[in-house]
Symmetry: C2
Subunit: 115 residues, 2 copies
């Protein structure tokens, strides 16, 4: 994952404490709480996408938020960003191995949320 190792669920308690805010679980949860992350991952789980394609798929997202979301995902190793230096430029995003795992995880959330 993208951060430090973490105890199991029986000793989960201190994870929210000030001195534990950088733990892996917290990073995961914070990410899930971000407004556009899961939808971006879902869209990319269907295959590589260009910036504009993702923008269209995520109805209502602003360019600012989409860029922020994708950059964070890239920083954390969940997506790859490939730039084709044409004019105008062409940028393609795709899931990394970790990103695919994450997508599987969130698919479980999606299903659970339906019933």
């Amino acid at each position: 994952m993208f951060a430090a190792p973490q105890p199991d669920i029986e000793t989960l308690e201190p994870c929210g404490a000030p001195h534990h805010e950088d733990c892996g679980l917290r990073l995961t949860l914070d990410r899930l709480g971000e407004k556009w992350t899961v939808m971006a991952i879902a869209e990319l789980s269907a295959g590589p996408r260009r910036y504009r394609e993702i923008e269209r798929a995520l109805a209502g997202v602003t360019q600012r938020m989409l860029t922020l979301t994708l950059r964070r995902l890239e920083r954390d190793g969940l997506v790859h960003r490939h730039v084709e230096p044409t004019n105008p430029p062409s940028v393609t995003y795709s899931l990394s191995r970790t990103g695919v795992d994450f997508a599987r995880l969130t698919a479980g959330l999606v299903n659970w949320s339906r019933q």
Copy 2:
């Protein structure tokens, strides 16, 4: 679950749009993003707990945030709140059926976050 039905992952896109903010997935994700929710659920997954016990388990939580968290979980049907009208009062929280399901789901998140 605690809200409206939802399309599957292939048609997930509009879920973040203004007119879809009340969908089940969004509610689930927002809840996961809340700071103390998952830890409270984890603590309760080990058995019923009194207010003070949860407070001690969630190192760093304020009374305000703990109450807010538990009230939201109760409102959404994930935990039960049982008041024993003694003096001083004794209040016990426990997971509902749905809460147990939710705990299982988050356990997956915990494991994934560890590596």
